[in-house]
Point group: D3
Chain length 141, copies 6
C-alpha cells in the first residue's frame, strides 16, 4: 500500500456567520472572521489516495489525472469565488474549513475509481493559512 | 548602510473592478478577479528599512517596534477586511496590488523616523499569492 | 471526525548534556549539540485537535482560542528562553526534542477541553530545524 | 512512543517508460514524463523512526547518525544520477516514485537497528515536486 | 515605478559538460554534475516587469497574460525536457544556469511590450535548487 | 553580468546586551532578546557573487567551491556556537544581525577571488527568523 498526494490551490472569499444568530453574537463568536464585507485566503488542498501500484505503470494513480479531477470537480468551483454565495455544495452551510473539507470528500471519494482501478481516497488536508489547517479521513462505514 | 526587513501578513477580500466600465468589460479585462461576490488572499508584506546601525544597540531599527508600527498603521486596517469596501485609504482606487503598495508606502515612509533615528524606508514587497508579488521603492524626489 | 491544526513558534537556546557524564563523554555522544555555551533554534510547534464540528459554529475548536492557549501555556514559557535553565517543566530533564514534546503534551492535553467541548488533543509536531522534527500522539491508556 | 523525522534531498534524472510497450503507448500513458531524453527533479526524502527515547540521551535515534545512514545507503546512490540507468536497486523497475519509495524502505528498514536500539523505521515520504509526493509505511507482517 | 513578479516552474534534466574537454577533465571540473547519464532539477523562474500602473486597470502588467507568455515562450520549451538535447535556444551552449538565464532574457525582453504598454522586463531569477539560484538584469545599452 | 547565490545555514545562541548599560536598561531596550541565559535561532545566510560567466565552464563561480568557502570561513565558526562567547570575529561587538553581517562581509569579500577569477562579492542576506532578515552590499570605496 502506497499513499500518493497532490496539492492544488484556490483563492476565495468567505465569512463565518451563523444566520440564526444576531450580528452581535456572530461578531462575539467569530470575531473579525464575521466581517460582513468578507475576507479571504489562498487555500491549499492536498488530496491523498492510497493503493497498490499498478505493475504496468508503477502508479497507484496518474497524478496528472488526479490534478485534473481535483480542478474540474473542486477547485474550479471554489477559485476566485465567495464560499458563502457562489458555491452550490456549500449552500446553507457555515463556511468553516471543517464543513468545506467534508463536502470536498463527498465529491471526490466516489470519483477516484473513475481514474484509478487501484486507488481509494485516503485523506484530505486543507490549509486556510500557512498556520491553520484541517484534515479529514472520511467516516468509518 | 544595512538593510533590515520585517514580514507581516493579512487576510483580505477584494475584487478588481473599474466602475467606469460595464460588467462585461470588467469580466473581459479582469477575468475571474472581477467576480462581483469577491475573492480573497493571504497577503504577505515585507517592509525594508535602510540605515547605519546605532552603535549603542547594533540596530538600524528595532524590529519589534517596526512590527508594531506596520500592524497599527497598515495590517490591522487590512486584515479580515474587504479592500474595496472597508479600507479608508483605498477608497475610490482600483484594488490592485500596485495601487495598494503605493498607498502603504505613503503611510509608512513618514512614520519610520518616529521609531528610528537611523533608518529610512527603502522598499516594500507585497505577496498576493506565493507566485505573484509587487515591489515599490518610492519615487525619486 | 475532523482534525484541526495550528502552528506556533518560539526561539530558544539549549544544549544536549547529561550531567551524569563527563564533559568528554557528552561531547562524544552529542557532538556540537553539547557545546557548553549553548546553541539555539527557531522552533515550530503544530498542535492537532480532533473532534466532530459543533453544528452551531462549524468548528471543532476555535483556532484563535487554541492559538492563545498554546501561547499562554507553552510558547510564552519557551520563547527567548534557555530550555535547560529557564523552563520550569524541563527541570532535571535532558533538553531533547523528544522530552520537550512529551512535556508539552502533558500541559496541553488536559486544557483542550477548557476551550472546546468537541475536541481532544490528537498530535503534536515540533520542528527543531526545517529538516529535523518529532511527533507525539500521547500514550494509550 | 515518539516519532522522529529527518529530511534529506537528492537531484536526479528519470523517465517513466515501460519497455514492454511501444514508444507511442508510453507517450500516451506517461505523457511528457516519457520524454526519451529524460527530465529530472529535486527530490526530498523524509525518514521517520519511532521508538521510546533512551533515558540516557533523551533520543529515540541520533539524527546525525540517521542523516549519515540515509546519505550512505540511499541518497548518495541517487544524487546526480539517472534513476533508470545508474541505480543498482532500481534496475528493471519502472522509475516511478511508488517503486522508488518501496525500494528505499527495503534498504533502510533493516539498518535502523544498527544505529539505534530504541527505534524502528515507521514511514518514508518522498517529494518529487513540492506538489507531488508519496508515502510508505511498509507492509504488515 | 512598481515592480511586478510572477513565478513559474519547470522540471528538466541536464549535465554540465564542455565537449572541448576530455571526460576526465569534465568530471574534475564539474564533479557529479558531469554525470554522462544526466541528472535533473525542479527549476523555479521568477520574471520581474517594471513600469507605471495603467490608471484604467491599476496594473503594470496583467499577471495572467505574463504567466501565459512565460509558459508559451519559455517554460513549455523546458519542462520535462533535456536542456542539453531538447532545447533549440540552448544548442551548442553549456547548460549552466548562467547561460540559461541569459537566453531566457533574450526571448522574453522583446515580448513584454506585446502584452503591456507600461512594463519592461527588469529582472529574472532562476532557482536550480532551493539553495542555488542566479539573477540577471540584462546588459546596459 | 550575472548574479549567483548560495544559501547556507547555522544554528546559534546569542543575546542582545550592551555591557555599558545596567541589566534594567538592557531589558528595557532589548526586551526578551536580552535574556541573560540566552536564546537562539536557525540562521540562513545567502551569499551573492556577481560577474561575467567563464566561457569554458558557463560559471560565474563554482557553487560547490562557494559553499565550501562559506562553511570553512563563516558557518563552521558560527554553527552550534554562542555568538557572544564563542566567535572570535564578534568579540566585543553587540551580537545583532547588523553587526554580524558586516563582519561576515569582511571575511568573505577578499576570499571570493581565491575561488573565482570572474566573480566579486555583491550581497549578503542573513535571516534570523523567516520574518526578520538583514542585507548588506558593502561600502562604496
Amino acid at each position: 500500500m502506497v499513499y500518493v498526494s497532490r496539492k492544488e490551490h484556490f483563492n476565495a472569499a468567505h465569512k463565518l456567520y451563523n444566520p440564526a444568530w444576531s450580528r452581535e453574537k456572530n461578531l462575539d463568536v467569530f470575531g473579525p472572521c464575521a466581517n460582513e464585507n468578507w475576507h479571504g485566503h489562498n487555500f491549499d488542498l492536498i488530496v491523498t489516495v492510497k493503493g497498490v501500484p499498478d505493475p504496468e505503470t508503477g502508479f497507484v494513480i496518474d497524478l496528472k489525472k488526479l490534478s485534473l479531477l481535483i480542478r474540474q470537480e473542486v477547485t474550479d468551483k471554489l477559485d476566485h469565488k465567495n464560499l458563502n454565495l457562489d458555491v452550490e455544495f456549500m449552500k446553507d452551510k457555515l463556511a468553516s474549513c471543517e464543513n468545506l473539507i467534508m463536502e470536498i470528500w463527498k465529491i471526490l471519494a466516489p470519483k477516484i475509481s473513475t481514474i484509478s482501478k487501484f486507488g481509494v481516497l485516503h485523506a484530505l488536508r486543507l490549509y486556510e493559512t500557512p498556520r491553520n489547517y484541517v484534515e479529514y479521513f472520511g467516516e468509518p462505514n
